[in-house]
């Protein structure tokens, strides 16, 4: 099946029970879980990344994300399909929120379903780490003192300042 856009989600791609999307709306946990639901699955693992209110002791008032959307969606779909294949999953869904994300809200959701839980746990973690390593999305933290910083997730380390 070719990757195809979704009528209700113009900024999405899907292929072979893998679904990925970018949205500026608040993320919906239930709908992402439902995308991977399967009668052949004995486990669904969901990761919800939420925006933190501090960075090294400085107060973060909100976060803003931007994406190179066409490329980011293709990278997300590639990660989802490869993780599904590697772990024999039934489905993978990943959605990243863009624009301003108030502190404490979800910025990314990843759901995976699998016949057995071990594969689902591992696959969920792998999908997130690969996403952080290479999906073309950037995070900016706006601090209480008025400063703003674009972050970089390098080598799985805590984000560092760039620019």
């Amino acid at each position: 099946m070719m990757a195809s856009p979704d009528q209700n989600h113009p900024d999405s791609l899907s292929e072979d029970n893998c679904w990925v999307a970018l949205t500026s709306s608040p993320l919906e946990i239930q709908s992402v879980v439902d995308r991977v639901r399967s009668p052949q699955a004995g486990a669904i693992v969901l990761f919800a990344g939420t925006t933190r209110d501090s960075f090294e002791g400085k107060t973060v008032v909100d976060l803003r994300y931007e994406a190179y959307a066409p490329l980011a969606l293709r990278s997300m779909l590639d990660i989802a399909c490869k993780v599904k294949e590697r772990h024999g999953l039934k489905g993978v869904a990943m959605v990243h929120r863009l624009g301003v994300v108030p502190v404490g809200e979800e910025s990314i959701l990843i759901a995976v379903s699998s016949p057995h839980r071990q594969a689902a746990w591992r696959a969920g973690e792998e999908a997130l780490e690969e996403c952080k390593a290479r999906v073309e999305v950037w995070k900016r933290e706006e601090f209480a003192d008025g400063e703003g910083v674009w972050r970089a997730n390098r080598d799985g380390q805590a984000g560092e300042r760039v620019g």
């Binding site: 910025s107 073309e136 970089a152 997730n153 620019g163």
Partner: protein
């Protein structure tokens, strides 16, 4: 998506720290331009942008950016 560039030009997109450095998210540059000359052209316009964007060697020996192309400056990513 940015508008189509005028004849004889290509679009260049600046994301995150690169956009902060240039104070714009997109502009047009004259085409054709060999890819290996892109950063020299950008440095001429925005002195220091190379370090800001943390440029890694662009792949594609012999690639020439053509009229109507879209090129993006992609700083180190930070999703999640």
């Amino acid at each position: 998506m940015p508008p189509k560039p005028p004849p004889g030009h290509f679009n260049i997109l600046y994301f995150a720290s690169a956009g902060q450095y240039t104070s714009k998210s997109v502009e047009v540059l004259p085409a054709p331009l060999p890819l290996r000359d892109l950063f020299a052209e950008l440095e001429r316009r925005y002195n220091g942008i190379r370090a800001s964007a943390d440029e890694e060697a662009a792949e594609g020996e012999g690639v020439v950016i053509q009229e109507g192309d879209e090129v993006a400056i992609i700083p180190p990513v930070s999703s999640g």
